[in-house]
Assembly symmetry: D2
Homo-oligomer: 305 residues x 4
């Protein structure tokens, strides 16, 4: 496995030159475009690495999966999905028009920004500090990594430039889609996006989902089998921004990407995978990361279809 | 004239029962649904009244005309219309979708909320206090009424419930359509909407526009003839929310309505008209006010078409 | 007047180089880009010309005004406006999205293609031949020109390439917005757009509207004063495609343009104007024609605002 | 298995009363609302039945899967997906707005009507007769049923009332998204939707897909493994109209429904399933059919997630 990963990372390196590091948040543009790494965590707890697997990056949209798991854990499936849907949408991740044009009772799904802001608004805690501590603590548990914290520069950068997310949140507030103080909810949201992780951390999250909600390293159940299945399903239909359909067809693994360059993937009953490569394609997905996952899926026949 | 106005107000009274007082801002719902009044100011400065012409109400969207006049005065036509368009739109006044779907360089016109927020952002002043003082002072001048102030309850009510306007403003901020601090701009905007006026005040504004920018009572020019014409034209195409086309066809007078129940109308080279009736139709226009203007237009042949 | 027109045409010539002849219908692309002409018809029946005023061109969207006049004459205002609205829209002339997104009971207005197809569907006649004869006969009457006929090459060209209009018509058929056979209605519509006219013809139509529905050359009333006013109002709010607002602000005359290069304008109680210049701006309006109207409006103070 | 199917059909019967038979095509409204049946075909070719499994119905949108398989077989994956995308969309199946609003290079996916019309346009044949014969012949092969033909009443009914599909097709013609004669393409499309099948037929199609493109009853390969995977993936993300996400979460099997009341499902490497129940929910999916699949999926642990 180790050699396979090493050779796949090598093969995928050349593609990083075709993409661009995210620039909409100034802090993200400082990433090293050529970095590329992978970690695989199998269900017996073994871990395999290659490339820049120890490089830290911010979790960004991959945190939408974490907050969804936690929100269901704390509120129940029924309550969460009364506030946010589970249907894919052809809109881009930060689109606002569907909230008005289609006038839905709730945002389409928890992987677009509007839906993720709703999910975050459901996390328990008496203050925004308590809420983000709650998310951090859950993230540390499912990554078995007590060191995970927030990158303050990225958080401040998101907060300063997050006006599109403010527009989404105030629109939903005006429609009654979210309760609570908008700026507080956004503060938690910006912080959860700025959690700093590496390939291993997200590979472990993928492994927990692959293992139907049980931590492979301890046997402890953290979420139900049903929640685990729901989350993987939504990752397939909505996890890769507006390239989700293409990713499902070509690679066929539940996955969630973030503009920090990470992709967290979960092969049901087999393994969790974390890849990192901050050079992004036009849809906002790691260009090298997708190449790695495609080759790995073909080599190990990982498609669920 | 006085008898004509009196009989028209009487004739229009019955229609007030078919509408509803605005309720989206809690404070507005306290208005007396049956109130109805009119004031006409001719270009020689004569003033005629009937009905509840002295009842005070908040100016609401009629302030969009005032801030447009002032913004052009301070910044020039070219600068203002580089930031906001002059095309009518079939969207409702608080719509956000066109900002994304049609991705325009600027909001469609200064009479929809998005455009009016841009106009307000262009008013000069070193602080939000100075800006609203600037607007108040200009309003007092074109109404010849030094008493005009802000209804604090309505302002607070708008501020508390103005999340749709926040969504519009943050969306435009994220697209670079507005400069400056969003909450400060909105604060000025909420205050300008909460200016308290009566029929006479808006009739005088209409008379200034009808008189090509010269105050009828003093002969002083406050805005250019061209600005005056621009403003009246935009009132025709966009002044009555998404009933502007129908109003133009049936009544044919440049006019601007507000959900406080006022309609300010300007008959070029003839007169300014202010009507008040807080009972609104489904488009947000004063139901009795429209009836009054329709009968008056027919009686005095006021249509410009 | 004659000298004024001549000098204005001269001044406007240079602008024709900045535009392009319409090419979406292949036949239209054969027009001479530099042609430019004008005709003015006053209410006492006097006619003044300059430039290429005798050059023939197809009426295109200006026919929407003719079919609207005729449809109201035959069906009454109430029936017509139960099928098509009178509100301006920020959409482009051939847009289909609003029919679905806003799901209106009827197309927004008779100047966008969807609305004009509805208007044409209301013209009386037992067959498409009778209907187009009906339109031709009415057009000949209001232009006092018995020679007006259909340019068969343009008609065939429109029919062959009119798939966007077919999409609009079948969409409205599926929603119940239009009755009757879609291909027959479209056949009449394509033919009415292919009527061949010159500047004088459209200047006369403008003069009939300016004269409140009475033919200036014979004193015969063809449409009511009210219909005449309705038509002029809709020309102001919707006549110049999505540049209607700007045209109203800068020129202030009810007008309707066509991609054949014509603009028909009507100054209430003063004159009708026809201009021709097939070089179009990006909105589909005659670029030289707009310059001519702007200069003429300023020289003679024609704005209604 | 037989007893399991029987009891599941019994349990699901009560739900048929909550839905409605399709009525937008008059012929469909004649179906028996209470009918409910199932057929399961395993990869060793065994077939199990329960309920009204022999009742015939029209295939409707399930034919979109058949024409997609055939179009890829004849044109190659690359050519097909250069003309139609593979992304899910939150729009309803017959939506036209995205073709204009998002102005994509191609319709979003082959399961919405716009995309399916494109797929059909790619089927080879010198005439519409040859094309539909081609589709029929392929359908007979993958169902091992030489009797499959077209229900002429339903076909005529679709043709007469198919104006929304005409609108979609002419819109795409005007944008260059489809080649060829629109009415001919629609004729083939209406006929493919009117193919008459029963539960067994669609269960066999599901089994071919589950078997990676090899006919279970003969071992003959009809489509490649890759095509088979692509088709199943698109069924997951887009197969159940705008309830695809919810179906994936709750049931987790690639499936495609039709308004005739059928659902064709394919459990990778395990079985094909056909269910029939013409009582539909508000999204257009068989209400009893979904209940059957949900219970079966739970009983046999069929979810791929």
């Amino acid at each position: 496995m180790k050699n396979l990963l090493k050779s796949i990372v090598e093969n995928s390196k050349e593609y990083t030159k075709e993409g661009k590091v995210a620039s909409y948040i100034p802090e993200l543009s400082k990433a090293n475009r050529d970095a590329l790494g992978i970690c695989v965590v199998t269900l017996d707890g073994k871990e395999y690495f290659a490339g820049d697997f120890e490089e830290k990056f911010t979790v960004q949209s991959i945190s939408k999966v974490v907050s969804l798991m936690l929100a269901i854990l704390e509120n129940g499936k029924k309550n969460v999905f009364s506030k946010v849907g589970m249907e894919p949408t052809g809109d881009s991740f930060n689109s606002i028009m569907s909230l008005e044009v289609k006038n839905p009772q709730k945002p389409f799904n928890p992987m677009i920004n509007a839906g993720a802001i709703v999910t975050t608004s459901l996390i328990t805690g008496d203050s925004s500090e308590e809420k983000i501590e709650n998310i951090l603590s859950f993230t540390r548990k499912i990554t078995d990594n007590k060191e995970i914290g927030i990158n303050e520069e990225v958080y401040m950068s998101e907060k300063l430039t997050g006006n599109r997310n403010r527009a989404l949140a105030y629109f939903m507030k005006s429609n009654g889609h979210i309760d609570g103080d908008v700026e507080e909810i956004l503060d938690v949201y910006f912080k959860q996006c700025a959690m700093e992780i590496n390939c291993r951390d997200i590979a472990r999250i993928g492994a927990v989902l692959a293992n139907d909600g049980v931590l492979p390293w301890s046997g402890e159940r953290v979420i139900s089998r049903e929640t685990s299945r729901i989350v993987k399903t939504i990752m397939v239909t909505c996890g890769m921004y507006d390239a989700s359909g293409e990713f499902a067809v070509h690679i066929g693994i539940p996955a969630k990407s973030g503009v920090g360059g990470g992709i967290m993937a979960s092969v049901p009953r087999r393994m969790g995978i974390g890849v990192y490569g901050p050079s992004l394609d036009s849809k906002g997905n790691s260009i090298g990361g997708i190449k790695i996952l495609q080759e790995l899926s073909e080599e190990l026949d990982l498609s669920i279809f």
